[in-house]
Symmetry: C3
Subunit: 486 residues, 3 copies
């Protein structure tokens, strides 16, 4: 029997009654605050078009790589005691790559999701989905094989109403500021349209040049062509390439951008002598760059990005250490972003040294680092953030954006980095409707952490109240200042 | 004064009264369940022969490398405030290697153990021994210098009774299924005898070919000779070698085996081009393999083992990252397995990629990975297990099979891998009498973990009850399915 | 409004009422114990001269690199919501390096510190400072912009009184034994004077030869000259160099030293063939040593130090894995030890193997290892300490000497290494007045950890009481025995 579809008021708060009472008080100080979402992956077109969401599966299942991966991972061989009923991403409607057999019936996708609901136990995906279903869509029942159709109909009926269109939800969610992530070659047309609708600076782009900085990779020349077209500068030469990047950064800043975003395998930021960088660029154009040289060029370009940030004021965000498309066969069959991006160890102390020695005390430079390698928390990132004014630690990212992982982040970083050398919470989500769920969960976990410090007489209650508001609201605003001159 | 020799009903449950109450309820659902022990190191001969255990020291002290290492590690120099009274493994009866002076008087060994009892504070060895003494042997007192002889006499008297022979204990322990670990060249004679006694499939072998896969190592040619003899196939050529391995796997499957087990230094599974593998094999026969080439050959063979598993259905178990016989002098003097196997960092994301890309979605392939490097939990293993259907995380292994370490495992893996991409509990013990203690402790720690999720409103009680039974009983059965065709 | 300047009696104890009650009882057994401080960085000259501390800033702010780094790290760009008001270490009076603009007005430094007080929330620095202000100096108010001058005047008045001179505080703190850290070339004049004052063996030196072992580094020849002068042995040849080191160790032992202390980037202890070591030494004298060869020579010398320790009985302390002066510009501008020493990953299993195989069971050899890389706790250090009699784990060090980090250390090491293969608490502080605060905090955190084991029925109360005294008092004494023959 499904339990009553409501969320407990004390969800994700500590179990100890004394600590919980303090946590409730801290949560009271943040749960009404607006959402500042400075590192997200919602498509600006969603808000610009403001079309109704097509159906429950297209909204909540198919695009959610956390969910797709978990259901597929529990596919079992015949004879297993328990069976999720899902074998491949295509059965959940994922139609990327070479897929020709992707399920197109949203109701069938939805039933598969509901049949696999128990596979999500203990995961943050479960928490977020419960929040979305209950708080955003007033679901009458939780997902289960028996309730799948009733729930589908309920959601489909809601999605047809104007109050459930993207912009209406945007207002209902209390989003004060939303940063999207955009290819460096984007026209930013949707953002221009949104500036007309919402006013300037409420939905802002983020400059993401990853593919441009991976010289010699498949598709790189195409990226250079797009860069040339977007910037009006010929990017097929090293100087023009740098100028075109500068021009695009300026265009992003004009469109309200506050940050750039960089996700390469390594955090290395070692610059090359100019002549060598120039030579590698030429070699990349000729398609003759070795993989080591390509990595060295990317590191060089991260240094250049830092130098440009110190100059133009875009906050630099770095999140290294993920091996993308671990299963190349699955990527070919179903497309990227279906759960096969797997972390590897990431090193920061040596990797960030060039950028921190050059710009770590520069008043105009702001660097925010995210990691999915927890080993770097207390060993490298907290000591670095506790020393360099320019560096702040990003919120627990991706797989670590979950209750126990968030708690570990606080426990491993606060004693060395303090409570302010931080980005504050960022949600990093593609799933628009999950934005409030993610901020709510983070505020709860932080309330629990701070409440323990209060209960252990390590922090006064008034300080904890102040810190809770910092983490939820003030730090994201402070960590992503608008570039100078705006 | 020794405390009363009984175990507290709430041992290893969380201290918070509210969480403890829930944990008790969860424990109630698992404490009566049979034991499924799918990864153990009890010798099948013990059950086949069913002879009485010789004496308390030979049963509980000398073969327990957790215990021997801990007592020896606290040997102190003259003048130390506190002294365990034990200097070397030989003083505890360990007679491996070149030892000529090993203690042979079991009572003297037992007294040394009792004198060092306090050295075990805070360790799982202490917990397991208390359970064995109290629950299995109804000990009247805890070990101490003052009680050593009384306790020895009590145990010796018990061991002489038929109810304390191995098979009687096997039934009393409620073991439904026990997997042993056996050399790939074993005749499996004991298993055949046990199948006659207990019925087929209750005590089953596990295929362990480590020494065969480390080409060129000392003793490798002897292993090949044994392989040839056991399989009836000449293994002194690459093709015959592979055929002989296949034949032995088939023989193990006929004897009820469900899994293979692999413990090399690295998890690398990169296959070689066939010609290169063939050439390395020839070079190994000639004794001319470099250590790098030997490692590459082992990696290649792990890939071959995976391919054979996908074909014949033996579950593949991998537990890399341990440097065996760290102190080569101690190994020479006292033999292996006395505490000098020390973990090193282990990498999985890149190492497992070849096998997972090839067989990660194969319905007949099952891979279970164990680690003693906790850094891989949230960074590599949970993301991999949360993506690939073929991969499950093994239970916290070896040093990590302990209350706080088990809790850390759950906290670091569940949010990303869920509660089912797991092997469930396996005990990995050589100490027959400790099997119930280990399962009991794991069930308690899991009850405590799940109880916290319930208390924090992150999991419903009925789901937690279901998950507790999964972890204790269903998942081991499901994770080690009998090979097809049986 | 600043809170009343007193410390809560239950500070840093667990929040759960039942666990807290046990923790209070455990704390009761240790809070009156004397302080044994076997690894500190207080300057012996401080006690030898016994001059009054000059002013509050010189006592509590300028020399505290934990504090300086944290205030500087929160320097913000113009327009930030919150501003610590401090931009550089020089503004806090740090006058090392090339600094020409360091603040010299102690009151101005003090005001800056008070303005940045909230930057320390959640850090151990905050805890230590509160303890110093409240317990040592009876501060009437906590720091804040409004109270800065009043607090300054209060402290200045205290510092002028004889009861607040170093030796009076030393007695008031209840320090039974204090080890300082001294250059291997030190005359130890201050120690000789202190032996006259306090009696022999109460304030003892520690032999620190780091700069002598880093052959070929800048300044190395100058170090050799100092070594020659101090030892009376010409150290500009390999044999003389070793003899001079031996002579200095003997001089330290005569002055009461119990230990040597070694902090290089790596823990590698691989010895070189003698001819090769000799050749590298010669090459270093000629200034032609590559950095790889220099690292190999240092590793070789660590092995030599271990061999000398086995011979002369000085306990060997190792704390690798820190990249010193990460920001070379800051080091040049402000000097070393201002917060830019950043940890890197450290490996121990392979690195310590040569020394442990050679001396790990030697009754006269004692090795204590510290780390700031938590990943080595359960993976490498606890298994090694749980096997080799000679090895003990040092207390959580540096950034990890903080409540949550100390708890993680206990949880990650106890189950594998037990509660006695440990150094017990060492404070590692340069800040004389913080010594009692650090021992108090460690005793509280250990009481909380042990109380949980008791509450979970994993340890009896009488055992926990015994273990608490071990960790606070007995283990430091036992782990640093006086060399034989004294």
């Amino acid at each position: 029997m499904p339990r009553a579809p409501s969320l407990h008021r004390d969800r994700a708060l500590p179990a100890d009654p004394g600590v919980r009472a303090i946590a409730r008080e801290l949560l009271g100080a943040t749960e009404g605050l607006p959402i500042v979402s400075m590192h997200g992956h919602v498509d600006a077109a969603l808000l610009a078009a403001d079309a109704p969401f097509p159906d429950p599966a297209a909204l909540l299942v198919t695009p959610d790589h956390y969910l797709v991966r978990m259901l597929v991972s529990q596919a079992s061989s015949p004879g297993a005691i328990r069976d999720s009923g899902v074998r491949t991403a295509a059965e959940l409607g994922v139609a990327g790559g070479a897929a020709v057999d992707a399920e197109t019936d949203p109701r069938r996708i939805w039933r598969r999701f509901c049949a696999g609901w128990s596979a999500l136990r203990g995961t943050p995906t479960r928490y977020w989905l419960e929040h979305v279903l209950s708080e955003v869509f007033e679901a009458p029942v939780w997902p289960s094989p028996a309730t799948a159709d009733r729930l589908y109909d309920h959601l489909a009926e809601r999605l047809a109403q104007p109050e459930y269109r993207p912009r209406a939800l945007f207002e209902r969610f209390g989003i004060e500021l939303l940063a999207t992530t955009d290819a460096a070659t984007s026209t930013l047309a949707d953002h221009h349209a949104l500036a007309d609708t919402f006013g300037a600076g409420r939905v802002v782009p983020t400059f993401r040049p990853d593919t441009l900085l991976e010289a010699g990779a498949v598709g790189w020349r195409g990226e250079l062509a797009a860069l040339s077209a977007a910037s009006g500068v010929d990017a097929f030469g090293y100087d023009g390439y740098l100028d075109a990047l500068r021009e695009r950064r300026a265009a992003f800043i004009r469109a309200g951008a506050r940050a750039s975003d960089h996700g390469h395998l390594s955090a290395d930021t070692t610059p090359l002598p100019e002549a060598e960088a120039r030579a590698l660029f030429e070699r990349a154009l000729e398609g003759r760059l070795t993989s080591d040289a390509a990595a060295a060029f990317t590191a060089h370009m991260l240094f250049q990005m830092a130098a440009m940030s110190a100059d133009d004021g875009l906050v630099m965000q770095l999140h290294p250490g993920v091996l993308r498309d671990h299963d190349r066969g699955a990527a070919a069959a179903h497309g990227p972003n279906i759960g096969y991006d797997i972390p590897v160890a990431a090193e920061f102390t040596r990797a960030l040294r060039p950028v921190l020695e050059a710009f770590g005390h520069h008043p105009g430079f702001h660097l925010i680092v995210f990691t999915v390698d927890e080993t770097s928390y207390s060993r490298e990132l907290a000591p670095l953030a506790g020393a360099y004014p320019a560096l702040r630690l990003g919120a627990p990212w991706w797989f670590l954006d979950a209750p126990d992982a968030m708690r570990r982040f606080r426990e491993a970083t606060t004693e060395t980095a303090g409570l302010r050398n931080l980005s504050g919470f960022v949600d990093d989500t593609r799933a628009f409707c999950s934005i409030p769920a993610r901020h709510d969960l983070a505020r709860r976990v932080d309330a629990g952490y701070l409440a323990r410090l209060v209960a252990e007489h390590r922090l006064d209650l008034d300080e904890a109240l102040d810190a809770a508001v910092d983490l939820a609201y003030r730090l994201p605003l402070e960590s992503y200042p608008a570039p100078r001159g705006l």
